[in-house]
């Protein structure tokens, strides 16, 4: 059986010796063997016998399983911040350029970070799970955290950077001041589980370097569904931190240095600054000093123990692969979410908005993504963990997507809960590089339409999706017929159709090429015209036209064309549908309201009535008339036994007289039960107010 990862014993041993600060001679002495023997192992000319390996393990402070698995011995080296020295050419950068490309609000963070997690899903049979944890630290909790972070080493750099007259300096200054004054810090941890984790070498190509070491590296893997994982989007992590500081703990899906758990590193992005006599440029890393000969002093990721990750608030819920990003000093740059509760809510909304489709599962295939958000203060939960449910946030669209996954769609809508499906063809033009101009193909995109609820808003939009259910845009179809069914619609193209085949890949690439950097439209781009043959733009246009047509067919009414008369005349003869003109005309008339009513022992109604009157120059003379409600037809009048004026009115011959200018009057009345057609308990009472006869108005 060959050891894991197939690393040769020699190279493993050489690294362990370096880490332990031992040389070959010292090991030979400890083992009471010759230096030649050790040298032979190091150069892979020979391997020690199992008994010797056990002894080597003991000397290095590890066990034979680690040797077998080629696990590195975790050296107990001190943690340190390594600040990159200024460029020799004297160039100065005052901020991370990429960070300016994003609005550092929490919605953007949720969108970018979660998209990365989705793109890095590890086991395709299970969803990737993301968990956002907001935590506010104060008092000793804060002190302990800052100590674990070696805040003191950083502080002087922050102080210097904050002195500069730069945009980033000003915001740093504010952040430092708030920390000093409020003695409180908000952490936001973004975890994913069942994701690849930050695999790969400390310095060479890989997920780890894409996140930790490089900028503007969109690490595109051909054929991947990703729009470029850990590309520009990762910048939002740093942009969300008021200190541009992010700590990382990753569980790897492929071991590195023989290990998978607790690969920890920190990174801060700072502008050019001078501390003491040294000038520094840009980033600094938190880790162990590298032991490699040519990288002395550089901080590298280390394999942390459990206590350390707990101290750094980086402990993970399980040993499943994935990464935790801890944003130190998290804030919402838009300023709309300041409290923990607001930030919690904003994250939930952003996750639902951006990923409802990925969170929908069918009967057979589960969702691609699960997401939840929790908020804590000093280790205590303050806003319960909230699982983002697409069926609550986007009920109609989620229903549509689920119906599609369950093959439960119909061709024609007959109920308000059904989902109609229509296929729309996208013609993918050949690439210019296709020699015989025979490339390209026909992709069958899927349009889903379902009726909207009465109060839904917005409606009548088509949500366009591709990739792993990524929303590109929402657009209203053109030329919707008047009075068409209000609807929700989704267009699935490329991988979002959940289909496989050459056409799917072609469409995916074609549509991606037609997206601007914001990925929010399918239109003319430079890439489109440089890569694809002539007519690419027309194909996109035709696609839109076909989609709109399909929508119209599914929701439109077959309006019978018949002579409806001149439009100008029709306009003047319109009847209002619901409650016509009611509210408008009611402003000028007296309003009556029964504020209290009881049936007394004699069966009479005792009622208190308010009269609201419009502005008037003349005295009101009103007759209140009591009637019993009926199921149909004429309402019987019941007689008053007495009417008592209460406020702002007087009685004259059974009428109420109210002086001009009075806006509110009230009276009480008792009905005559002998005039009741039925016991008062059995019918509703109505009071009409009439302008009385004879009296001058």
């Amino acid at each position: 059986m060959s050891p894991q990862q197939g690393e040769k014993f020699g190279s493993w041993l050489a690294r362990q010796l370096r880490r332990a600060g031992m040389n070959q001679a010292e090991l030979a002495d400890e083992l009471e063997m010759t230096r030649a023997a050790v040298s032979a192992w190091i150069n892979d000319r020979a391997e020690p016998r199992p008994e010797t390996q056990r002894r080597i393990a003991a000397i290095l402070g590890t066990d034979s399983a680690s040797i077998y698995n080629r696990t590195d011995v975790a050296p107990d080296l001190p943690l340190q911040w390594h600040h990159r020295s200024a460029y020799k050419d004297g160039g100065r950068e005052y901020g991370n350029a990429a960070a300016f490309a994003f609005n550092a609000d929490l919605s953007a963070l949720a969108r970018e970070a979660t998209q990365n997690s989705l793109d890095e899903r590890y086991d395709e049979r299970k969803p990737v799970r993301v968990r956002y944890t907001l935590e506010e630290l104060t008092g000793e909790h804060l002190d302990q955290f800052l100590a674990a972070l070696h805040w003191d080493e950083l502080r002087e750099h922050y102080d210097e950077a904050a002195l500069l007259e730069q945009k980033v300096s000003r915001s740093l200054k504010a952040a430092l001041r708030d920390l000093d004054e409020n003695k409180s810090l908000i952490l936001l941890r973004v975890d994913d589980y069942n994701a690849a984790g930050l695999t790969g070498d400390e310095y060479g190509d890989g997920r780890y370097t894409a996140v930790v070491r490089r900028q503007l590296d969109s690490r595109k893997e051909s054929g991947a569904k990703a729009g470029g994982s850990y590309g520009l989007g990762k910048v939002t992590l740093w942009a969300t931190s008021r200190f541009n500081l992010v700590l990382i703990n990753s569980t790897l899906s492929e071991s590195y240095e023989g290990r998978t758990e607790r690969r920890v590193v920190g990174r801060v992005d700072l502008p050019w600054r001078k501390v003491g006599n040294e000038a520094y440029a840009g980033p600094a890393w938190f880790g162990q000093a590298d032991t490699e000969p040519n990288r002395q002093q550089v901080s590298r990721s280390w394999w942390a123990d459990e206590q350390t990750v707990r101290d750094l608030h980086l402990d993970r819920l399980s040993d499943e692969p994935g990464t935790s990003f801890l944003i130190v000093g998290a804030h919402d740059a838009s300023g709309t979410a300041e409290s923990l509760k607001d930030m919690h809510e904003k994250l939930v909304i952003a996750l639902a908005e951006g990923f409802w489709a990925a969170m929908v599962g069918g009967n057979d295939g589960g969702p691609l993504l699960e997401a939840s958000v929790v908020a804590m203060r000093n280790g205590r939960v303050v806003v319960d963990e909230k699982r983002v449910d697409p069926h609550t946030s986007h009920p109609a669209l989620s229903r549509a997507f689920k119906a599609y996954l369950d093959r439960d769609t119909v061709e024609e809508l007959t109920t308000s809960t059904q989902v109609a499906r229509a296929d729309v063809t996208l013609v993918v033009p050949p690439r210019k590089s296709d020699k015989r101009k025979q490339g390209g193909g026909h992709h069958r995109a899927v349009l889903l339409v379902t009726p909207a609820g009465e109060d839904d808003d917005p409606v009548n939009q088509v949500v366009y999706m591709r990739g792993n259910r990524m929303t590109v845009m929402s657009k209203r179809p053109r030329e919707l017929p008047l009075g068409a069914t209000r609807f929700h619609a989704v267009l699935l193209a490329g991988y979002a159709t959940e289909q496989t085949g050459a056409d799917v890949e072609l469409a995916e690439e074609f549509l991606r090429a037609s997206e601007p950097p914001e990925h929010n439209d399918w239109k003319h781009t430079e890439e489109l015209t440089s890569v694809y043959a002539r007519g690419a733009l027309s194909r996109l246009r035709e696609f839109r036209v076909e989609i709109d047509k399909a929508v119209r067919q599914l929701v439109g009414r077959r309006t019978t064309v018949r002579g409806e008369g001149p439009a100008a005349l029709r306009e003047l003869l319109k009847l209002d549908v619901f409650g016509p003109a009611g509210s408008r005309s009611r402003r000028n008339v007296p309003l009556v309201e029964i504020t209290r009513g009881d049936l007394d022992d004699t069966g009479a109604w005792n009622v208190w009535v308010d009269l609201k009157l419009p502005e008037s120059d003349s005295t009101w003379r009103l007759t209140p008339i009591a009637k019993f409600d009926v199921r149909s037809g004429g309402r019987p009048v019941v007689a008053w036994k007495e009417i008592v004026p209460r406020d702002n009115c007087r009685e004259e011959d059974g009428n109420l007289v109210i002086e001009a200018g009075v806006r509110l009057a009230s009276f009480s009345g008792i009905t005559d039960p002998s005039s009741h057609p039925v016991h008062g308990n059995l019918a509703g009472l109505i009071i009409d107010i009439q302008k009385s006869r004879g009296g001058a108005l």
């Binding site: 003869l573 029964i594 009637k627």
Partner: protein
């Protein structure tokens, strides 16, 4: 006003939805069910006669409030009725697992004529009295047997016809008129007949959308005039056959008459409650006292609906401009 009761009603209104309709076992296209208009068009062009429509219903009740309130034995009842056939049939809805109330009710073609009305009654025992109406759906659904487009308020019909050769016998008597307004011909909706042979070319001008300034003036003023005739005629018809309460208070009619009265009464008798205004009108009409004076107000209200002043102002300005530009 809403009747005042001796017992409590449930606080919120209830929502009733027609989820789907099957006609003789075949599902009606959803485009013929309009949730916003709360109307179903049961007529399917190109399909023959049918016997039975099954309406699948869903209702949402404020269940928590009902549970906390003084009501018991709560029944959710769908009521399907049509006045002209004196039909009333009911069906109970049952509470489904998702908390909504569901059920179906059958509409038998032979028992309905034009438009059936579907509403929801919530019934329960209150203060020891069983079978009380304790809530209902706000606006009822309409089930239109003659329409293929679900429209709640039917538009006033405009028919272009050659009166000389009209299939409607009575129209021939008006062969020299440019238009007539018929308010009782179709009990469902008033009809404006435009005579294609009365004033040659007029109907073409009315139907045009462009043309010379003079044409536009003619179109605007004529349509206004026709509309005014129509509103006056509709108003008179609407007040001519009012049902009355015991004390002679007329009852607001249903059908097209209702919106016509509600739209015009505030201008005919400003400052009055609708019922009071209606009573006044009815008294004038039946006794004759003040009826003649009221005509002025009716004309004013109709003129306002027809935008007479606005259209005439436009016309005068146009003519004025034309004259000035004459060489």
């Amino acid at each position: 006003m809403r009747p005042f009761l001796s017992y409590p009603r449930i606080p919120d209104t209830v929502e009733l939805e027609i989820v789907s309709v099957s006609v003789d076992g075949r599902d009606l296209p959803y485009s013929q069910i309009s949730r916003t208009e709360k109307t179903v068009a049961l007529h399917q062009t190109g399909r023959g006669d049918w016997d039975l429509a099954t309406l699948h219903l869903k209702a949402v009740l404020p269940d928590q409030e009902i549970a906390d309130g003084p009501w018991s034995d709560v029944v959710c009842l769908a009521v399907l009725s049509e006045n002209s056939t004196n039909v009333r049939s009911t069906a109970r809805l049952a509470k489904g697992r998702d908390g909504t109330w569901q059920g179906k009710i059958e509409l038998v073609r032979g028992r309905h004529l034009r438009r059936a009305v579907l509403s929801l009654a919530v019934v329960g025992e209150v203060n020891g009295v069983p079978g009380r109406a304790i809530g209902k759906s706000e606006a009822p659904w309409y089930l239109d047997l003659k329409e293929s487009t679900p429209r709640r308020q039917r538009e006033i019909k405009i028919v272009e016809a050659d009166f000389r050769e009209a299939s409607e016998e009575w129209l021939r008597g008006f062969k020299d008129s440019a238009w007539v307004v018929a308010t009782v011909e179709d009990p469902e909706i008033p009809i404006v007949y435009l005579n294609t042979s009365g004033v040659e070319g007029l109907v073409e001008v009315l139907n045009g959308t462009s043309g010379s300034a003079a044409e536009k003036v003619l179109r605007d003023t004529t349509t206004s005039q026709i509309a005014q005739d129509a509103w006056i005629a509709m108003f008179h018809t609407a007040v001519s056959n009012l049902d009355q309460d015991d004390d002679g208070t007329p009852i607001m009619p249903t059908g097209w008459q209702e919106p016509v009265l509600k739209m015009m009464l505030p201008d005919v008798l400003p400052g009055r409650q609708l019922t009071d205004a209606l009573r006044e009108i009815n008294e004038c009409r039946t006794s004759g006292a003040g009826w003649a004076e009221l005509q002025t107000n009716i004309q004013f209200a109709a003129g306002k609906r027809s935008q007479i002043a606005k259209k005439l102002t436009g016309a005068v300005r146009t003519v004025d401009r034309e004259e000035r530009s004459e060489p």
